[in-house]
């Protein structure tokens, strides 16, 4: 009789442990976005549910409102939610042309000081591009550089744009790059620059990278000119591992790498901010012409969500969902239009859900 009670007690403890583990649900702020944003967000939520990922979603809207003092800001509920949860997933946001406020992405970046934009580019088996062996990460400084927005009309017909490079920002991004290398078992970090022409600005960036490299002797550090990187990237992308660079070069190179693996529709992206905030997003547009028609491809947002899971340490779930997604694409039976098939978004999602469930 005592034995039976003991058995029941143990079972209950095991169950309780499992329950507790499942209770370790993390809340993530979800910003569905505009256009195809809502449907791809729904798709991602469905897939996460099927994978039983311990994530609880908190949906928020970030349409800009005018705060006290007349400055545009994101709604306070959204800001609070992000600061509390620290992790966010964002769909594509519409950039209004004549709404009078700056682009939403810019506003988010400034509000949460999102200083690093990380884009891992890995060739997707099943989505054929001329480049098959891409496996690199571009880490781009996101706050200053050429995009500081400081421009002057000096005399009629002469315009000057200012590119700003600061020690602090350069050190921060270099540190993040090396930390990322360590946490993700990558072997080398390459700083991309044009210090032969922009001696002081890129020279400063390079010096900071070198200083930070001293503290991370386990990761190989190299420097390469922007033009050499472009040249070699197009001929043989397998030579590159992690690339760290200032804003403009990062913009161009990260889009170049996205083009190598198949475009913005399949590229994940993450923005890391100060205070532990991280927002993962899909970088394609809102595609208003196919919005609401169940034709969208959720791959970019899904892979960004997988990146988010890895960032949170949930590697098991991340691997499961990523494998299911790649398997679906590799099989080529249920593909959305932009991937070359003619399935609907819901069918594509359902296929991935099925694979995820089969894996359990």
């Amino acid at each position: 009789f005592g034995g039976k009670t003991w058995y029941i007690k143990v079972s209950f403890t095991c169950l309780k442990g499992k329950y507790l583990e499942e209770l370790n649900i993390q809340t993530v702020t979800l910003i569905p976005g505009d256009g195809i944003g809502p449907e791809i967000s729904t798709a991602v939520m469905k897939i996460f549910e099927a994978a039983k990922a311990p994530i609880q979603w908190e949906e928020r809207n970030v349409t800009a409102i005018k705060g006290p003092g007349g400055r545009w800001m994101i709604p306070p509920e959204a800001k609070e939610s992000m600061n509390k949860n620290k992790i966010g997933l964002k769909g594509p946001l519409k950039t209004p042309i004549a709404a009078g406020h700056p682009s939403m992405n810019l506003l988010l970046r400034k509000t949460f000081d999102l200083y690093a934009n990380v884009r891992p580019c890995v060739s997707i088996e099943g989505y054929k591009t001329p480049y098959t062996d891409v496996d690199l990460v571009t880490i781009r400084e996101n706050t200053e550089g050429e995009y500081s927005g400081i421009e002057h009309l000096i005399v009629d017909g002469v315009v000057q744009s200012i590119k700003l490079i600061t020690e602090e920002a350069s050190r921060r991004i270099a540190k993040y790059a090396f930390e990322y290398a360590r946490n993700n078992q990558r072997t080398s970090v390459t700083a991309v620059h044009k210090a032969n022409i922009m001696r002081m600005s890129d020279g400063l960036f390079l010096r900071k990278c070198r200083e930070v490299a001293e503290n991370y002797k386990d990761v190989k550090f190299t420097e390469m000119y922007l033009d050499t990187v472009c040249l070699n990237m197009v001929q043989d992308p397998s030579h590159f591992d992690i690339l760290v660079m200032p804003n403009l070069y990062g913009d161009i190179l990260s889009d170049l790498c996205a083009g190598l693996i198949g475009g913005l529709g399949v590229t994940p992206s993450g923005n890391i901010g100060a205070n532990g905030v991280a927002i993962f997003e899909s970088v394609h547009g809102t595609a208003p012409d196919i919005a609401g028609k169940d034709l969208a491809n959720p791959t970019a947002l899904l892979l960004s969500a997988v990146m988010m899971l890895r960032h949170m340490g949930l590697h098991g779930h991340a691997k499961k969902i990523e494998t299911a997604c790649f398997d679906t694409i590799r099989d080529e039976k249920v593909l959305t239009k932009d991937l070359g098939g003619n399935a609907k978004c819901s069918e594509f999602t359902a296929d991935i859900c099925r694979r995820v469930q089969d894996m359990d």
């Binding site: 995009y147 315009v159 200012i162 210090a195 001696r199 472009c230 040249l231």
Partner: protein, 406 residues
Amino acid sequence: MVKSVFFDNLVNNGSFDLSSLWGFHHLVVKPILLNGEREKEQVRYHVIYMCHIEFSIPPPAKYGGRHTVTLIPGDGIGPELLNHVRELFRFSCVPVDFEVVHVNSASTSEDDINNAIMAIRRNGVALKGNVETNHTMPPNHKSRNNLLRTSLDLYANMMHCQSLPGVQTRHKNIDIIIIRENTEGEYSSLEHESVSGVVESLKIITRNNSLRIADYAFRLARDKGRRRVTAVHKANIMKLGDGLFLQCCKEVASGYPDIEFDSMIVDNTTMQLVSKPHQFDVMVMPNLYGNVVSNVCAGLVGGPGLVPGANYGRDYAVFETATRNTGKSIANRNIANPTAMLLASCLMLDHLKLHDYANMIRGAILTTMNETRLHTVDIGGQGTTSEVVQSIMRIIQSGGPLTTEI
């Protein structure tokens, strides 16, 4: 600066001297009514037209039927490749003499580069290798190549990227002309550290230079029978700077209605280049984007060893490899690809109006590449530089014209 110039007797088709109109102006053409006639209707020819009045570059100096060209060996693979060019020219009896000017990249004084610039002013044409820039030197030590381009006002860098038959690449049949503004933009070398730890670098865009380069691009497109010019920019972020560039391109485009004009943002451009490069025809852009795009295109057609580049100014022309690499790691090992430098020398011969020699050498290069498949290491072969050059010389010899001994 508003200048009013009155032309009468337009009806009589008189000729008039336009030299006072040198440069860029808005030409506002209004009919001047004769004899105090009142305007019957509001007929006004308010044509605002961009007009670049340019005299063609005067033919370079020719003594005894031979041209003199400045040669700047540079660093890395420059000297050995330019030696091959000289050898080939001597062999093929090309009537060009080279005036060699060395530029020492390690020295801090600017005498070397000033000598080179003076030599180019004297001769009008140059062929150069890349001079290395040691970026650990203090900021007042400017890049020698940049100094040369800005002093001689070589405002247009032209690069014609063509897939060469016989070279294995991921994309086939690429044919893109890239025209890059060569003197201003991000390469203005104007930097300062106003507060410790904060560096500002200035990017300058001027109306005159943008109009000039856009006009060059459209004229080239028309001369070569091209149908579309694409301007590459980032005006959504750099609204004033690249916005001005884009506006200038649009203005010039209105004067060439037979050529289509569109624009594309630079990050989208690089993405399209690696996936669908055949949509591009002629591209025009400011300095830095030109650097990125030209390197991407060079990579697409097979690498830095294959594409020649040309820098044109109003009075001078300097020819070099398109991607301007020093190639330090492969210097003096006889493995560099001479194609780019040899094709650059052919461009130079075309500029000197020695078209027969240019076509002969170009034909020999393409035959070596395609029929004999003698490739250097960078394009997947086993040949050495000298083997390739020897093969080219043999083909020229077998072609018939007078040559010296091999």
